[in-house]
């Protein structure tokens, strides 16, 4: 057993354990923290697979940005009300259905590769000669040439989602005083220099 296999088992067992804890802890904040641990271990597995770019992007995007907002929202909840586990079996059928879909997809993939996992390489590796490039270069050169349309389209979809969420939540409220910096800095016509005679004063 090599060191990399040992690390693989370490990462994957912690990954599985922490994802189990995500759905089984009572406290939602602990759930999110275990979710973060799961993300980190997934990134570790990516590193073992020599996909270090994906690993770092996973940490930066999911752990550094998305999960922070998750935690943000969950921390604001009054979680004492959500502690009542009245009927946990209520969601069992839909959970089973989703699990079944995942297993079916995995089985289809395995059938396609005729149970020889080396065939997956051909399916998932669109670059002919990948070995002489670092994987950052490889991802860049395939993403910005063959798949540039899809890449840009997904960017536009994200932009639409962002604009949509702002439009839905933006309200113009009456009577709100805003600080307008340009008006504060611009002092033309608002300031007057007056020579004051001693002992007399001026009217303002």
């Amino acid at each position: 057993m090599s060191i990399s296999l040992l690390t693989f088992y370490l990462f994957s067992s912690i990954l599985l354990l922490s994802s189990l804890m995500v759905i089984s802890t009572k406290n939602p904040v602990h759930s999110v923290l275990f979710l973060i641990l799961a993300f980190l271990n997934a990134a570790g597995i990516f590193v073992i697979l020599h996909a270090e770019f994906l690993a770092m992007i996973l940490i930066i995007v999911y752990v550094g940005a998305v999960a922070v907002l998750f935690l943000f929202v969950v921390m604001m909840l009054d979680f004492k009300t959500s502690l009542e586990k009245d009927n946990i079996l209520q969601y069992m059928p839909i959970g089973l259905l989703i699990g079944l879909v995942f297993i079916a997809e995995l089985v289809i993939v395995l059938i396609n590769t005729r149970l020889d996992l080396s065939n997956i390489q051909i399916l998932s590796n669109p670059l002919d000669n990948f070995s002489d490039q670092s994987n950052t270069e490889a991802i860049g050169s395939i993403l910005y040439t063959n798949y540039v349309l899809y890449f840009q389209l997904s960017g536009v979809i994200l932009l639409v989602a962002m604009v949509g969420s702002i439009v839905l939540t933006l309200r113009d409220r009456e009577g709100v005083k805003r600080q307008i910096v340009s008006e504060q800095v611009d002092r033309k016509g608002k300031i007057e220099l007056v020579n004051v005679k001693s002992g007399e004063g001026v009217d303002i």
Binding site: V29, M56, G64
Partner: protein, 337 residues
């Protein structure tokens, strides 16, 4: 077990290297704390720490000893596990980032190809220590501090990311040593001067330094997320914070000030070993950090957010477009000539 036996020598070497990074870092933090207080005092015409040891040099170790022997107070209604894990996470993450910092040509613990992304990832994890501390304390001031800190760090990470992208376009590699070597002819703070300023100010915000120290604004929030901490956990937070500050100084040095390279490549200057130049430059950047702390009054929170989203974000986006256009049309981009 034979796996461990065959790799035991490698393991010991790695641990030795880790200690080799950690010890100078610890000394650096002690000196930085001392320098911070001395510079601050000098600006305000005070004398600063001057009683314990020669020139007050032992003040910081004395404070550290005091904190270690103090009682660790656990608030009654705190989430105790998360409460104690939070400072450990802060310190561990801030030290972990130093593994990829090259202090001299070839002198780096892990010379990985995605070095800059690694540092970016680790520093984006730093917010969890603060968030966990604020939530686990179960008290309103720490909670407000944690919320402020999270929003602030996430906002300024965006512009830091774009600044790093402009530098990377001039280099053509994510490896930190190659970023330094690309500045052999000209340090990047000259062609990318506006981005240098944006990065410096964002680094101040990212490390919660004054004038952006709103997470622990003592006039509003007692001490922010650190309010309920005492003794050893507090020291872990303090050290983590200062190691992060030194990391940001090192990042400024590597990205913009030419890392370990001498200012001019001529005889008496290039005979000095690289790490001396590196430490000198980090010290210079830290001096600027300390001066900003002494000079500038604290920002209001809405001003902080406006600066991040309405000034720095458009500016750094514009810089990305401009830099890539210039590199493309003048055929200056790496690998284009």
């Amino acid at each position: 077990m034979d796996v461990l036996q065959s790799n035991i020598l490698e393991l010991i070497t790695i641990i030795f290297y880790c200690i080799l990074i950690f010890i100078p870092l610890l000394i650096g933090v002690v000196l930085a704390l001392y320098a911070d207080r001395k510079i601050w005092a000098a600006v305000q015409k005070r004398r600063g720490p001057n009683v314990v040891g020669p020139f007050g040099l032992f003040q910081v170790p004395a404070d550290g000893l005091k904190f270690i022997f103090k009682e660790i107070i656990l608030p009654d209604s705190a989430d105790k596990t998360v409460f104690l894990i939070a400072p450990i996470i802060t310190l561990a993450l801030s030290i972990a980032a130093w593994a990829v910092i090259p202090v001299q040509a070839g002198v780096v613990l892990a010379n990985i190809n995605v070095g800059i992304l690694y540092i970016f990832a680790i520093s984006s994890l730093g917010v969890y220590g603060i968030l966990m501390a604020g939530w686990a304390s179960n008290s309103k001031y720490p909670f407000f501090g944690a919320l402020r800190s999270a929003a602030q760090m996430v906002s300024y990470e965006v512009s830091i990311g774009f600044v790093i992208v402009t530098v990377l376009m001039c280099v053509g590699s994510l490896n930190l040593s190659e970023i330094v070597l690309a500045q052999k002819n000209i340090w990047f703070f000259i062609p990318l001067f506006p981005m240098f300023i944006v990065f410096f100010i964002s680094a101040l915000a990212e490390t919660n330094r004054p004038p952006f120290d709103l997470p622990e604004a003592e006039s509003e929030l007692v001490a922010g997320y650190q309010t309920e901490y005492s003794g050893m956990p507090f020291v872990l937070f303090l050290f983590g914070e200062y190691i992060n500050i030194l990391l940001m100084c090192a990042m400024t040095t590597i990205l913009f000030l030419g890392g370990w390279l001498p200012p001019i490549d001529i005889y008496p200057l290039n005979a000095i070993p690289g790490f001396v130049w590196f430490i000198l430059k980090v010290t210079l950047v830290f001096y600027m950090f300390a001066m900003v702390k002494a000079f500038v009054p604290r920002y209001r929170y809405d001003q902080l957010m406006r600066l991040g989203w309405k000034v720095f974000l458009p500016l750094s986006l514009l810089a990305v477009v401009l830099t890539s256009s210039i590199l493309f049309f003048f055929k200056l981009a790496p690998g284009m000539s």
